[in-house]
Structure formats: C-alpha cells, structure tokens
C-alpha cells in the first residue's frame, strides 16, 4: 500500500506528463495543417505527370529509354524506406519498417540481392539491427527547415538515376506511408525504377489521332523520366511527413487521455487513503476517551 506522500508524488508526475503530451499534440496539430496542405498541393502535379507518362509510354512501346523499359534483369533490388526523423508517433515508423522487412524478406527468399537506402533516422535505426550490411546510403531530413523537401527529393532522385545508369540496381521500390486522412496512413510499396505509370492514371483515348512531339518522343521521355522520379520521391516524402504529424497527434491525444484517466484513479486512491487515515485517527481518539 503506497503511502499518502507516494501517491501525491505520482499524481504530480503524471500531471506534468500530461502537460507535455498535450503540448506535443497541439504542436503536431499545427504542423499537420501545414504538412497536409503541402501534400495536397503537390498532388495535382504528381497525378498530371503520371497521366502524361502513361500517355507517352503507351505510345512509346517497348523501345523506350532504360529508365522506362528496365535493364532487362531483375537481380538487384533497391529498397528505399521513408520514415520520420523522430519517434513518439504511435506505430507510424514501425508500420513502415514492418512492410519494408516483409518486402526485403520476400525478395531475399527469391534469391535477389537487396540494397537498402533510408530516408529519415527512425527507419535506419530500426532496420540496421537486422540488415546493417545492406545499407548503401541514407538521406537525413533532420536539417530540412519549414517542410521544404524539394531539394532533398531532387538530390535523391538525381543520385538514384546516376546509380541506375551505373548499373548498381535493376529495380527500385519506394516504401513509405501514404496519407489517407488524419486517422489512416497506409504503408505503401511503389516501384519507381523502371518507371511504371500507376494503373489508375487517367489516359486519354487517342485512337485515330496523331500525337505530335517536339522535339522527338525519345527526347521528351528522357527529360520527363528523371523528373517523374523526382516528383514521385517528393510526393512520397510529403505524404510521409503529413502522416507523421497526424500519427503523432493521434498518439499524443491518446496519451493525454490516458494520463487523465490515470490521474482520476490515482486521486480516488489518494482520497480513500486519506479518508481511511482520518477514520483511523478518529477511532483512536474515541476509543481513548471511552477507556477513561
């Protein structure tokens, strides 16, 4: 049975924890608004780009550039895992890492060589325990200010394209958390190299029409593909950033509520113990008086 003083201390400590989680929740809510706006604002570009690519690749056929057609091999896979820089966001990072592990396991079972590139500190920490020797690079988002991930995304895209040209991998897959809404983020795996237009991209029926290209079709594809990859990476990072804030907000909201419940039950316990002590003292006094 904890003493009155112990209970009092515990209540005070839970109260200050609640203050912190409450503050974290409010900070996450404010950041979520911005991250969500950025993610939504980037969507039209990404989806337009996807439909342009879908149109182009439909007419280019199999003879397109390597970024579209692939190397013709399927040996070395690069897995790019996008997670957050910080924890305390519920299961956010773990879900992405879980999907990544599952994907890596499948690829290894098929006998493929797997290389890992991580974006965000948490994914690297969690994956390095099992796959430390497969890491080839890491992108740190910690010093990116104000949610401006464009430069990081373009930098990563360029180094991916360069690595692909040097034949360091055959297939690249992005694993990130897709932001559906505040309560749901879906861990998603998406192949970006060789580029494939998503199946749901709108294509225009061009039967009978002659599409004209200026300069040639191949030249357009060659400029478009690296940008398409950059765009995909950027939108994945933005989605992940929005998801992180949403997930943290929910997690901290739960933590605040749990702390409240705990304070209630501790206060009840404290009051009972206090009442019991008063009753005990009274009994002592009364029985003392009766004895006289």
């Amino acid at each position: 049975m904890p003493s009155l003083k112990d209970l009092k201390n515990r209540i005070a400590s839970v109260k200050s924890t609640r203050k912190i989680t409450k503050a974290m929740q409010m900070v996450a809510a404010a950041k979520l608004k911005r991250a969500q706006d950025a993610a939504t604002a980037a969507r039209p570009y990404a989806s337009r780009m996807a439909s342009v690519l879908a149109n182009l690749s439909a007419s280019a056929g199999a003879g397109g550039p390597k970024l579209l057609a692939g190397t013709g091999q399927d040996e070395t896979h690069l897995v790019i895992v996008i997670t957050a820089e910080r924890g305390l966001a519920g299961g956010f990072n773990s879900y992405v890492v879980k999907l990544a592990k599952q994907k890596i396991g499948e690829l290894r079972a098929e006998g493929k060589t797997v290389k890992i590139l991580t974006v965000g500190k948490k994914g690297r920490e969690q994956l390095s325990r099992d796959y430390g020797d497969m890491f080839i690079s890491h992108v740190d988002l910690g010093d990116v200010k104000g949610g401006n991930y464009t430069e990081s995304a373009i930098g990563l895209g360029q180094s991916l394209t360069a690595m692909f040209d040097e034949g360091e991998f055959d297939v690249a897959t992005l694993i990130y958390s897709q932001f559906k809404n505040v309560l749901t983020q879906v861990p998603t795996a998406q192949q970006i190299i060789p580029a494939s237009a998503p199946a749901d991209a709108e294509t225009v029926d061009l039967t009978g029409a002659i599409y004209r290209y200026e300069p040639s079709e191949t030249e357009i594809l060659e400029t478009l593909l690296p940008r398409y990859i950059n765009t995909q990476i950027l939108s994945a990072i933005l989605e992940s950033a929005a998801g992180e804030q949403a997930s943290r907000m929910t997690a901290m909201d739960n933590a605040t509520r749990n702390a409240g419940d705990m304070i209630d039950s501790l206060s009840l316990q404290y009051n009972r113990a206090r009442q019991a002590q008063i009753t005990k003292e009274l009994i002592e006094i009364i029985s003392g008086a009766e004895a006289l």
């Binding site: 570009y45 337009r48 004209r212």
Partner: protein, 135 residues
Amino acid sequence: MADKLHFSLVSPARELFSGEVDHVIAPGTEGEFGVLANHAPFMTTLKNGIVRVLEGDSVTMRIFVRGGFADVTPDGLTILAEEARDLDGIKTEEITSELEATLLKMQALDKDDTSRATLQAHYDYLESLRAALAH
C-alpha cells in the same frame, strides 16, 4: 461563341491555374506556340519564358515558367512547370534579393554537391525572370 480550351498549369508546389480560357501562348523549346480549343494532340518541352493566357484579344494572365512540359490532348492543355510564378504582383526588388540569397547559398556549397545544379537552375530562372520583368 467559340469553344473554350481547358487549361491547367501545375508546378510541384501547387496548382496555379485551372479553368476554361480562349487561347494560351507558351514558350516551347522549338519556338513559341499558341493553343486554341480543339488543337491537335501535341506535346513539347518548354524553355524558360512567359505563358500568356488570353481571353478574346486581351492577355488576362502572365505566368513565368521554368522548363517543363506542355501536353495538348483532346481534353485540353496541361502545363507541368518545374517552377512557376504569376508575373503580375511581383517586384523586381524581390527577385533581386532572392537572386543574391541563391548566389550566397551556392557559394556555401561544395563543388560536387548534387543540389548545386538545382540551385544553378533556380538562379538562371530568377535571372531570366528579372530580364522579363525589365521589359
């Protein structure tokens, strides 16, 4: 009443414009071109320059774009720009100070930093934007 052209201009940061217009003039790498409603399917890369939106004979909007693509389909015209700004409402001084900031950032970087090329492209864009404003 002539048909309207559905025009949308998007940059990675946001959708700048989407709506029905009469006529759009854009700077293609192989020459400036105009698009009216029911244009034949056509696709081109863009160079730095001004996209003009016309209603009737008067220019209603001027947007300065950096590179990208224009895609004309039976549904309309889509411009995907690397970077885009509405020319009305920006001042030469703002661009000048942004130019200086970009230059400083570039000097702070190592020679072989990958983001250098990106900054250089941004710098060139601002410079041509300033030139366009001077006219």
